[in-house]
Symmetry: C2
């Protein structure tokens, strides 16, 4: 087996960190306690380990291919996707009213991690479909919901997000795709969209493209963008499929990674106009698209964790098997498996600590999302929404940047074999590199963190988080163990560094925007590192308590060691980042443009 889902760690995170039992006090989630979670996760693990994971390497060798407008996916994908739909996995987090299971996002996050560990390329299809479902749930009409959602939730139809155009990547103000109103209330769509993930494929009966376009006469910039449903096949009023719409895939990209996932160039309206249906109101497209994007950003962060986990497991396996050289401490007489060597251990621990820290943060943020959307108390909803929104750019930005380091270490553990494609470690390294780019680059996440999440409220949310972290520090400092003491020290230094940076960002953003934005990514790396580390500190406390109560001692011991490693090796990077942000802004933009 090439992948074993870390179900025990998911359950630990859900129980001890995300507070899943508390979510069961919310009426919608009354049944979604630890027993349900355990059952769902075990089943999800089985499916992904046995059905999806074995297709991962095959997808790299035998990617999706394009011919005459038709995309053929990797052999096995179509059948696996059918099983995915039949198993109810697409509907996991979606409302029961449309055929879903209505489970919390906290549990969903674990399931999303599993399918992405199993196969990043395959998992992108349901990931985009999730986003399209969320957008329709929020902004679609009742008729649109009734028509489109059930087959999407069922996994018979899939969804896409059509934002990017050749001249408009991160900058959606530059979108040019045109929508012409028709007498029957529909629109004709004309334009070219690029980088459309699963924009064309053979795994579903229909594809529901959600397309950003400008209604003729709409204002310039982002205020003139509307959102349209443009199905591949026109959907009749009874839900049956009608004619082929004028939306065609003219090519797919030749990419460094996630090769099995077709990245389409879509041409709308080359044969008279693609029929589109307005979602919500005209000119509010960006707002609706942000719903999809925010869901997708969280999910892409989880993709980072997922590929890191897979790379870690592969590296551990190799390190156990590969015999090479005598350990420096003489603990083995002759040549030993390389897992005995200190630097291999350092690499594996780095991979593990970063992955577990980011996972813990994603589970906690998932539970906050659930409370933000479903808790009966408005203040609790608001507090959780604020927490969640602060974490989204960190989960997207930090977890994906982390995955670059982890997958690189994964190759490194393999030595020369890591560079040989057949070994498989290289695929994770190649696949991961898209994660810091799509759904908003790390810099775009950092802009969000600096502007909307920190600057807008003068750093209030950030400082409130720092105060919560200080409480965790106090709990750690009160424990006797060397691990807890070391953690408390490193957490304190990191938290103080965070506060310095928050004050810098909140204080200088308006007068010296370049100075602040020059440090935006280091700030994101600092904050992500700290927030994931904070969860590892909480995990350490919980693991010590569980140990004292005699629970699963090997697992809890490992959690404590991993947390201590995180503090001493990962959190230890934070103060240097503070110095970079606070003192280094001036030298970032000092170079004259023509001197580069």
């Amino acid at each position: 087996m090439t992948y074993r889902a870390p179900v025990k760690d998911f359950m630990f995170g859900l129980k001890e960190l995300a507070g899943l039992e508390q979510l069961t006090h919310i009426p919608e989630f009354a049944e979604a306690g630890l027993d349900t979670a355990a059952a769902v996760l075990e089943e999800c693990a089985r499916f992904n380990e046995n059905v999806v994971a074995p297709l991962n390497w095959e997808g790299d060798r035998n990617p999706s291919s394009w011919k005459d407008g038709v995309v053929t996916t990797t052999p096995g994908f179509k059948e696996a996707f059918r099983q995915f739909g039949d198993g109810g996995w697409q509907g996991l987090q979606h409302p029961e009213a449309f055929g879903g299971q209505g489970l919390p996002k906290a549990i969903g996050a674990a399931c999303i991690e599993m399918i992405n560990s199993a196969n990043l390329s395959f998992a992108l299809c349901p990931l985009l479909t999730d986003g399209a479902i969320e957008a329709l749930l929020t902004a679609g009409s009742d008729e649109q919901k009734a028509l489109y959602l059930p087959p999407m939730v069922e996994g018979r139809w899939t969804g896409t997000m059509n934002l990017t155009e050749p001249q408009a990547g991160s900058d959606l103000a530059a979108v040019r795709t045109k929508a012409e109103p028709q007498p029957d209330g529909t629109y004709k769509i004309f334009g070219t969209k690029i980088f459309i993930t699963y924009g064309e494929h053979d795994m579903a009966e229909n594809i529901v493209h959600l397309v950003l376009a400008r209604v003729v006469g709409a204002p310039e910039g982002v205020k003139g963008i509307s959102l349209f449903i443009v199905p591949k096949f026109i959907v009749n009023a009874d839900g049956s499929l009608g004619e082929r719409n004028d939306a065609h895939c003219v090519s797919i990209e030749h990419k460094m990674g996630i090769k099995a996932s077709p990245t389409a160039v879509l041409q709308f309206g080359d044969h008279g106009g693609a029929i589109g249906h307005l979602v919500g109101q005209e000119n509010r497209g960006l707002e609706y698209m942000f719903i999809m994007m925010n869901a997708a950003r969280f999910a892409v962060g989880v993709q980072g964790i997922a590929v890191a986990e897979r790379a870690y497991q592969k590296a551990v396996q190799y390190a156990r098997d590969r015999v090479q050289s005598r350990p420096v401490d003489g603990s083995v007489a002759g040549a030993a498996p390389i897992i005995h060597h200190a630097d291999v251990r350092r690499m594996l621990m780095t991979m593990r600590a970063c992955t577990e820290g980011c996972r813990a943060l994603a589970l906690v943020a998932g539970a906050a999302y659930d409370a933000a959307h479903h808790h009966p108390d408005a203040d609790t909803r608001q507090a959780n929404q604020t927490f969640y929104e602060f974490m989204v750019p960190l989960i997207k930005g930090y977890s994906t940047e982390m995955s670059l380091e982890v997958t690189s270490l994964g190759v490194q553990v393999h030595g020369g074999m890591g560079f040989i494609e057949e070994t498989g470690a290289a695929q994770y390294y190649r696949d991961a590199k898209i994660l810091t780019i799509y759904e908003g680059t790390t810099a775009i996440q950092a802009n969000d963190l600096v502007g909307r999440k920190t600057g807008r409220d003068g750093g209030r949310t950030a400082k409130a988080l720092a105060a919560q972290i200080e409480q965790t520090e106090a709990l750690l400092a009160a424990r006797d163990s060397a691990a807890a003491q070391s953690f408390a020290r490193n957490l304190k230094a990191a938290r103080l560094a965070f506060v310095d940076v928050v004050e810098f960002v909140a204080g200088h953003g308006k007068a010296s925007p370049n100075l602040v934005f020059a440090g935006s990514v280091p700030y994101l790396m600092l904050a992500g590192n700290l927030m994931a580390g904070w969860q590892m500190g909480r995990a350490l406390l919980a693991a010590q308590d569980a140990l004292n109560e005699g629970e699963d001692s090997a697992f809890m011991q490992a959690k404590i060691v991993t947390a201590q490693f995180y503090a001493e090796h990962i959190l230890a990077r934070v103060p240097g980042l503070r110095d970079t942000v606070v003192h280094g802004g001036g030298s970032v933009c000092a170079m004259p443009l023509d001197a580069f």
Copy 2:
């Protein structure tokens, strides 16, 4: 043009940092002053920009291929290699007695960077040949030198290093290839070697394999390894080519990067035994091989700088061309080329600063090698040898790790386009990953740094370097400019961190080897960062002096800005690494093996 050689920066480094003019006081290098260097570098730049660089992307699309034991290289490689030989580039650093030009390694380092920037895959063939030449120069008999060196120096024959076997990667004690003495003084060689770069190809008339093998009855372990010349075609006494030797390429690897460079599995002696000639004495093979490896390690470090430079140039070009979004400081009214965005600037400056710092260190170390080998004064030779040997693991380890970060940022600057293979940025990212692995992984370099270079003399060499750095600090602190002041502060903090680590390593190495080796790679990253940073501090001083004298103001201003950026963003990472090494050793090996 896809690559422009940074000749101005090479000349600055040779003149202001490496002290090329001082080398001309050494009789062998009397003619190798700045004028010679300028002429050689300009010519080398032209050749690599026009002939070698255009083949880089073609090599990725159309890699070397194997059929029936024959390897066909990328179209254009054979002709380019002929031009390389005809231009005298293979002989640049080699003795005039064998047809070379006898130029200093300092100048050679610049030329090696250029050819590797132009085409990492292509450059590997001469790189390995250089190593083989050095080994034969040191350990070969006069007869062997006379027979093999002239065609190798001329670029008609190439060389290889045959160390690795399936069970023996980093651990040469495990080498099993067998050598049976024959009555005529030759040996018959039997065994399998893997990962042999340019182990078979069509660019040269003959290939001189240098092969590690065990003479029948030799001692176990590394003390029983001998070095053999095993030519692809037997060489007659008059230098003409005789029969095909029993050394055959049975396959080449399918790799993530450097695809044009054939990585061969070589089978020796499957048809009766390959004829081998002992180099030097039996059982001293490892010692001779280290000559090759040390030359190759320096060169691989330069490869890291080279691919980083190429990635930087490509990213700058894209950042100038790609128009996207309005800058946050309002400096441009509408959408602007992305080079106007602060985070793009941060990425480009990071790429540039790291590359220039490592380049400066390589040039300085190259000059130390020249003095170590050719200076008339024995003490000067010794001092330079000590300096050079300390720097080799840093140049190999740090410059290549740096290249991973730089090539990753290079993709990132390109956004989604960076992930599309046709853009070309992804190739550098894939190519670079081998650099931290071959010729000794980063961990192997770090072992060398910890053991032979720091522990063995109780940290004396390291502390002497720290004292030199302190002098540079004092010079910087005495300058008024904000750049120099900032540099002095950051350099001091980094130097103090280095001293702490050196004391820790020297003090604990024997009693607690795991504790020390657990921090070996962070120590290497710290030391490499500092030593490259030290050179950037020296560059800052030299650039300010040059400015005051009215020299090339744009270049010198840019150097000062880049140095300040290095101090505030790169050197700023050092103190965190100190904490990791000094306080984090315990948690690295604390995890029970079965808990991974």
